[in-house]
């Protein structure tokens, strides 16, 4: 259910994330942070802004541009009982370090029969919309969620970002925390209305596996995550003017996945639109539709998927616009299932 946000104080998503990290670092000496440009720069997307000033270079470490070594070192430190937060600057760069992510971080708990824990958080920036082309614009939600052994978190608001970050750092399992650049509240990449929300000063956790109904509606269920929560809400406003009442579900975590909230909504509306900024094939949209088909087939009247066609993300503006689902595309898909 929609979160009641008690706080008057509004924060950007990046401030909310940093606040949770700082709190955990103050409370627990074992929490430390490392990544490229996380110290003096404060993270290219402001994800670590101000932490070096408070905690110093020992606990906020710039590292050589060698993701295999420092992400793998995060795994080792986590197995030694520390709680590292490790930043991969853009998710697109996972390729140079995937072995450490997938064959160590994600598998060691299982291969050890549960005797080894890897309590680390891998944070990473995702998303396009600013023409940075194929090696710097992907979301790859599906890639990470497809591989078992790590929890995958995708916040869409400041409130969620803080609560999910507290939870991620305290979790005994490896967590991949994927934040969309366009939601961070950066001066140089304006956010849509929405991600800047009220955020309580005190700590709070948002449990994994609990989707949030960001807007209630009776006529269609729109399931999405990250930036596209805001695109879907914008579409829902436009649809409301035509008398179509869309429900918007923000998954918030992909692993674990809250199938109950999705199914409940689909049983109510009978119409499902799944929106994802990741590639279409073998991804989040297919997963959600399959879940609905398995468990709510009788209630399903129509289904649409909106995702990137299976091409790398192009550079030029008209080309990028063509492949990234926009609010208009979402509204059209919802109309289509009516």
């Amino acid at each position: 259910m929609a979160q009641t946000q008690v706080s008057e104080r509004e924060l950007t998503m990046s401030r909310a994330m940093v606040e949770a990290v700082a709190h955990e670092m103050r409370e627990n000496e074992e929490v430390f942070l490392m990544g490229e440009d996380v110290a003096d720069y404060g993270g290219i997307f402001s994800s670590t802004d101000g932490l070096r000033e408070e905690f110093g270079y020992d606990r906020v470490m710039d590292v050589p541009i060698a993701e295999t070594s420092y992400i793998g070192a995060g795994v080792g430190a986590a197995q030694a009982g520390m709680r590292p937060i490790v930043e991969l600057m853009f998710v697109d760069f996972f390729g140079v370090a995937m072995d450490q992510i997938y064959n160590n971080m994600a598998k060691n708990t299982y291969m050890s029969g549960g005797s080894v824990s890897v309590p680390m958080v891998l944070t990473t920036a995702v998303g396009g919309t600013y023409n940075d082309a194929a090696q710097h614009s992907q979301t790859l939600y599906g890639t990470f969620a497809h591989l078992p052994g790590m929890k995958v978190v995708v916040p869409s608001t400041a409130y969620d970002a803080k609560g999910l970050m507290h939870n991620a750092i305290r979790d005994d399992d490896p967590v991949v925390y994927m934040f969309h650049k366009r939601l961070m509240g950066l001066g140089w990449m304006p956010a849509p209305d929405g991600p800047k929300t009220g955020v309580p000063e005190e700590e709070y956790t948002i449990p994994f596996g609990v989707a949030d109904v960001k807007r209630e509606g009776a006529d269609a269920t729109v399931v999405t995550l990250g930036l596209h929560v805001h695109r879907a809400l914008e579409a829902a406003e436009a649809l409301a003017e035509d008398g179509i009442d869309a429900e918007v579900i923000d998954l918030r975590t992909l692993t674990p996945l809250d199938t109950e909230t999705v199914l409940e909504s689909v049983r109510k509306t009978g119409r499902l639109v799944v929106v994802d900024e990741d590639y279409r094939s073998y991804g989040v949209t297919g997963e959600i539709v399959a879940t609905a088909a398995e468990d709510a087939l009788a209630d399903l009247e129509a289904v649409r998927r909106l995702a990137l066609p299976d091409v790398p993300i192009p550079y030029s503006r008209p080309l990028e616009n063509e492949v990234l689902p926009g609010a208009d595309d979402i509204a059209a898909a919802v109309r289509d299932v009516q």
Binding site: V63, F93, N131, Q135, Y315
Partner: protein, 339 residues
């Protein structure tokens, strides 16, 4: 060399102007005629020019995210490169690649925006040359921030073990975005890493294009003569932020001033004057370069934007049936890819 260097400098000055259009007063990276990231190479020109002058069209170059000076020195089509940066249909990659991903097969030039990941393909081009018994060589450019990356170190080893005709050119500008060199390596002279792979290493300690010329002549000659790879490190300077929009809050003012004060282009001009070259001749080179650049930019801006539908094409050379709506099938006899 002087021509390549002044062309590159002026080209980037013009790109900077175009890039900032629509991004003022408030910088929004997605606004204006050139959105996305833009990494300018002002201060790096000596390495691109001093190395590429020894290369032929059939020699391969791979460049990193800061590619323009290298591309210009390698002879990449200036107009089509510019159209690519403006995201136009007639760009080198039909507007799909952008400034970090320039490909010009006519002169065997390629780019990658992933750190050090141009190294393995350069090794591959060298391997192909060796297998085919040609005397072409490959050169991979990378920054000093990239020399800790596995892809680089593994490439050094591969190239050395197989005696491949490849030159690794490390452009040491002292910074990897906000991280000063000493924060990411304890080895001040990066060319010493060559020792660990039993290959040749050399460092040019200042960005004197003539010194780069000589060191590169030796390295490229060694590769061309079948005598194996070289790791060549060149001290360059980053005269600007890492990317456009980088406020460089992390960088001491003194460092900025020092880097601005040493300019390889002025240095080369002074050397040329010392050798008796007329100022008028230098001026003629500069003004020709400016004309060429201005023409390329004007041409690029007149080019059409791509049709949005084109986004669905080119993922494959030989598209499987149904991949594109326009051309669902390859006509019979139209080359299935295995002939």
């Amino acid at each position: 060399m002087y021509e390549d260097m002044v062309t590159a400098r002026y080209y980037e000055e013009r790109l900077q102007e175009e890039y900032l259009e629509g991004k003022q007063p408030a910088f929004d990276i997605s606004a204006g005629p050139i959105p996305g990231e833009l990494h300018l190479a002002a201060g790096h020109e000596a390495s691109g020019a001093g190395v590429c002058i020894h290369l032929r069209d059939d020699d391969t170059v791979t460049a990193p995210h800061r590619p323009h000076h290298v591309a210009i020195a390698k002879g990449v089509d200036l107009k089509r490169m510019t159209a690519e940066i403006f995201g136009r249909e007639t760009g080198l990659g039909k507007g799909k690649g952008g400034h970090m991903h320039l490909f010009d097969p006519d002169v065997n030039f390629a780019c990658s925006g992933i750190i050090a990941q141009g190294c393995p393909p350069a090794v591959g081009a060298a391997l192909a040359a060796k297998k085919r018994n040609t005397d072409s060589v490959a050169v991979a450019f990378l920054g000093e921030g990239a020399i800790d990356q596995g892809g680089f170190l593994e490439s050094l080893n591969f190239a050395s073990v197989h005696d491949l005709p490849v030159v690794f050119v490390v452009e040491d500008n002292d910074w990897a975005i906000s991280m000063p060199k000493e924060r990411i390596t304890d080895v001040e002279d990066g060319s010493r890493r060559a020792e660990g792979f039993d290959m040749h290493g050399a460092r040019v300690d200042h960005d004197d294009a003539c010194d780069v010329y000589e060191a590169a002549e030796e390295a490229v000659g060694r590769a061309r003569d079948g005598n194996g790879p070289t790791l060549l490190e060149v001290q360059v300077h980053r005269r600007m932020g890492h990317f456009m929009g980088d406020a460089e809050g992390y960088r001491p003012d003194a460092d900025v001033e020092r880097h601005q004060a040493r300019d390889s282009i002025e240095r080369l001009a002074a050397d040329l004057r010392g050798d008796g070259v007329d100022e008028a001749d230098l001026e003629a080179i500069r003004s020709d370069a400016e004309t060429r650049v201005d023409e390329a930019i004007e041409w690029a801006k007149e080019q059409p934007e791509p049709d949005p539908e084109a986004a669905h094409e080119d993922a494959f050379t030989n598209p499987p049936n149904g991949v594109t709506e326009e051309e669902p099938a390859i006509a019979a006899g139209d080359g299935g890819g295995d002939d």
